[in-house]
């Protein structure tokens, strides 16, 4: 009887240690920080990414925004977010009228199937969004290396 209680007590003390991954809270905070408190609206942004990805290690991704890129009307920043990666932020691009066009590309990592969210902030402070659901079929590797 005593042994079992002792065992149960010991079991209760075992802490479940888990790395802290992105949560809805941390994603919301990251987006709020980027948007500087402005409302985020859908539109003007196009996130180009495969919806079915065979390997999450290097996923090509492009973001383009309809904008004349003039001094009066241009994109200042483009950011990409992932709700279910270890961190919500992926990258923040800084542009100006010197770019002539608002279109950026990179390769990102995806830990699991999730929506990928692109945000663009204009020089007038407005923030626009496009989200694409991506399925990641990580190769179920038998191999280690």
């Amino acid at each position: 009887m005593t042994t079992r209680r002792a065992l149960l007590a010991a079991g209760g003390l075992v802490l479940l240690v888990r790395p802290a991954w992105a949560t809805p809270e941390s994603l919301r905070k990251a987006i709020d920080t980027f948007a500087g408190g402005k409302d985020v609206r859908n539109g003007r942004v196009t996130l180009a990414i495969d919806t079915l990805v065979e390997n999450g290690n290097a996923v090509p991704v492009s973001v383009s925004v309809q904008s004349p890129m003039t001094a009066a009307d241009h994109v200042q920043r483009i950011a990409i977010f992932t709700p279910q990666n270890p961190l919500p932020e992926v990258v923040v691009f800084h542009l100006s009228p010197l770019n002539g066009r608002a279109q950026v590309s990179t390769r990102m990592r995806m830990a699991t199937s999730q929506p990928v969210i692109a945000l663009a902030q204009m020089n007038d402070g407005s923030v626009w969004r496009h989200s694409v659901d991506v399925v990641v079929t990580l190769a179920a590797c038998l191999e280690g290396n």
Binding site: D50, L52, V53, E54, N55, N57, A58, V59, P60, T137, A139, A140, C141, L142, E143, G144, N145
Partner: protein, 243 residues
Amino acid sequence: MKRVAWLLLVACAAAAAQPAPRRSGYQDMARSTQALQDDDTQNPAMLWVQDGEQRFATDCKRCHEPASMRGVAARYPAWDALLGKPVTLAARINLCRQRHVKAAPLSIESDALLGLEAYLARQSRGMPIVPDPEPRTKPFRDEGERLFRQRIGQLGFSCAQCHDDHPGQRLAGSLIPQGHPTGYPIYRLEWQGMGNLQRRLRSCMFGVRAEPFAYGSEGYTNLELYLKARAAGMAMDSPGVRP
């Protein structure tokens, strides 16, 4: 109606009896991964090619004109008269370094050696694989074929069982390729870096829970000899990108 059915049956049987055409692993990849390989300005392997090009200029150009390196990678493994056995391209680079440049050999999976291999392999891109016609390579190639057909590891698989008998089907979610070494050295997305054929073969052995051969083992050379013969005539698509 019966006549048509009979003709269809014969046609299907005839089609099934033909061996499947050979496919490079490139053809089994998603379009976006193929796009990475197709574009030299996006292919991560080009970083290693750039490194190899500079090392070649420093160490190798004293004897070899870069243009003369076209087709070299497509002919390896090849017979080395002094050693009396076939050697891989990586081994040849190191033999040259030791014999002619008087430089220390580069470690087999080092970025430096991969860079040189990638640079040389790039010079053979698009060219057909040509196994060394030297008759003395035959016993080594036969040994490679024996290894290819030998069941190994806890899972008791031979290379042939997956890559000859079931290419195009899936093992634990992964598509089984035919396993032709047309793209080596490759930038593998899973490795997030470059690797040569030896690295890939080690992964395969590990995958069937077998003890991989030691680094630099002749087993890898013999296997590569056989694999290149099995892929004879196929175009090199090196340096490749693979998932």
